[in-house]
């Protein structure tokens, strides 16, 4: 895998090569060269299998990290290509022409992270969340608890209990103090 990185270095602005274990490695490339690198890996290096394509939200750095996981059936190597893109107005070049299932991953990323892939077929269609009007839910700032409380408000007469306090009341009804009986 190191040899692959050395072959790629003169051709592309790849960096941060990291070998995770025997046949799995990661490298990073700037956004503008990513599509070219992936095309090169598929056509000239044997990485013919797009294993998956996803994103990780690094909200503290203001970036989404895209991960293109590629596999070479010949050498049995798997390579994760990292591409950092800005969170604000996130867009990325589409790779739907390279693999048939890429458009589906891109459609999911648009819905779940709000990353746009202009030109990707059906990218604006709802995938799983029909009629969703909140921020994309896989973003780190999406608060699932607040959403649930707002959307699925308690029915009249329904009592909500905090598990620790509830058990305290059930097991030690006469005990005074806080949830731990004030002994802590």
């Amino acid at each position: 895998m190191k040899q692959l990185f050395e072959r790629l270095q003169p051709l592309f602005a790849v960096s941060d090569f990291k070998k995770q274990h025997g046949d799995l490695a990661f490298l990073r490339i700037p956004k503008e060269h990513a599509e070219m690198l992936i095309r090169h890996l598929r056509d000239h290096e044997g990485f013919s299998h797009l294993v998956f394509f996803t994103a990780v939200d690094y909200i503290e750095d203001g970036v989404f990290r895209l991960i293109y996981m590629l596999h070479d059936y010949g050498t049995k190597n798997t390579l994760g290509v990292h591409v950092d893109i800005a969170r604000e107005n996130a867009t990325m070049t589409s790779i739907h022409e390279l693999w048939a299932q890429a458009a589906l991953y891109q459609r999911e990323l648009k819905e779940m992270f709000g990353i746009d892939f202009p030109g990707s077929p059906g990218v604006d269609e709802d995938f799983m969340l029909e009629g969703w009007d909140e921020i994309p839910p896989m973003r780190r700032e999406f608060d699932t608890k607040a959403y649930a409380e707002k959307t699925f408000f308690p029915r009249p007469g329904r009592k909500s209990t905090e598990p620790r306090t509830h058990m305290q009341e059930q097991l030690y009804p006469n005990r005074q103090g806080g949830p731990d009986g004030g002994e802590k």
Partner: protein, 389 residues
């Protein structure tokens, strides 16, 4: 590549067929989400011209529970009851992959006996999952009785899982560092008795299904997958092997103790629904053989679990990894990112159904008779929960 005659299909503009439903030439129907011929809670939006499908669109979202998001808000160990729910008929693969990913990131090496027990559990799971699929495949072509037989035999296997793990469907048995318990006393003999029942069933299945004239006439030639489609569509598992490509992660990237077991990758040639059935049928025999090999060779004593730190405050060192295994449908993988905290930063699950149920199904459905859609879909062996993780 297979190129159907498009003269009787609608015109395609910008990659989409133009279907004028007012022309009375087409009719649009929904196949699912409540339909016995659909593989779980998903639906196909079919556009028909007579009995022939001219357009197929897969819809999911009926059971989206946001597993990947849920896992980001739970501690590493709290995620164990979550991961097994991502593929209902075969949760063990999720348990194993999640555990293996954490072990790799945390630098834990499970004891050898645990690896053998895990392998046994996975092969039993594969056999149980194939049983459920086989009933579905036969049922989709109108042979519901076979479904009764296979579900009964799956239940015999579930009884064994209950003995082994305490749970019939969701086991939560493979945890980081090993497994929760060893095998119960006399388990091997009871497993062997069930394997013999399964073998007898498979003999009957060969007679009533694989040699059945109705099944053959409907499944042969149905859903042909061209070799060129394999990499372009990311097809894996028996769907791939049925067209003659010899790829199996158990051989190509051996995990657990597969490198110590003796087996060959099963392939076919015709690459249609019938061939996929035959490949899976032989893989069921292979499962039985592998289980027997494991029982004969596995160590009967020794530790089955590596001690862990306090899992309630467990922090996994920062890093990322991708672990994969060959499940019944193909390559299943977990991509796990840790930022050093008590919670996962990101977990992405790669399920083979993602591509099989969407681009592959949408392509293969075109030109298929409406009556064969259920059989085609089951022959691709898709599970919606791993699409909607």
């Amino acid at each position: 590549m297979f190129a159907p005659d498009r003269s009787k299909y609608p015109e395609i503009v910008d990659g989409k067929p133009v279907v004028d439903l007012d022309s009375e030439k087409y009719v649009k129907i929904w196949h699912g989400p409540q339909h016995p011929g659909i593989t779980g809670n998903m639906s196909l939006e079919l556009t028909l011209c007579g009995d022939e499908v001219v357009e197929c669109k897969t819809h999911v979202g009926y059971l989206h529970r946001g597993f990947e998001k849920l896992m980001e808000r739970r501690t590493w160990i709290q995620n164990f009851p979550v991961v097994c729910r991502i593929a209902v008929p075969e949760p063990a693969f999720n348990e194993y992959l999640y555990a293996a990913g954490l072990e790799e990131l945390a630098g834990i090496q499970p004891p050898e006996r645990a690896q053998w027990i895990r392998n046994l559990n996975l092969e039993m799971m594969r056999l149980a999952s194939f049983m459920a699929w086989l009933g579905g495949q036969a049922g989709a072509f109108g042979m519901g009785t076979i479904g009764q037989w296979t579900i009964t035999h799956r239940d015999y296997l579930l009884d064994l899982f209950e003995e082994m793990t305490g749970g019939r469907i969701y086991h939560m048995y493979m945890i980081p560092g090993g497994v929760r318990a060893g095998l119960p006393d006399g388990f091997e003999a009871r497993l062997e008795a069930v394997l013999q029942k399964c073998e007898k069933l498979l003999e009957e299945i060969e007679l009533v299904l694989l040699n059945n004239a109705v099944f053959k006439s409907r499944a042969v030639g149905l859903g042909y997958i061209d070799k060129e489609m394999i990499d372009r569509y990311g097809i894996t598992g028996p769907n791939q092997r049925a067209c003659g490509i010899k790829r199996d992660l158990r051989k190509d990237a051996p995990y657990l103790v597969y490198d110590q077991l003796d087996f060959e990758v099963i392939t076919g040639t015709a690459s249609d629904a019938y061939e996929r059935t035959v490949v899976r049928y032989h893989e069921m025999h292979q499962c039985i053989d592998l289980i027997r090999q494991i029982l004969a060779r596995m160590p009967n004593d020794g530790p089955f679990h590596h001690p862990l730190p306090n899992v309630l405050h467990w922090r996994i060192p920062p890093g990322e990894t991708y672990v994969k295994a060959e499940c019944t449908r193909g390559e299943k993988g977990y991509y796990i990112v840790s930022d050093g905290s008590q919670y996962p930063r990101r977990i992405c699950i790669r399920g083979p159904s993602y591509t099989h149920a969407f681009p592959v199904m949408e392509k293969l459905a075109i030109g298929t008779d409406i009556a064969d859609i259920a059989g085609l879909m089951v022959s691709l062996h898709t599970y919606p929960p791993e699409i909607e993780r």
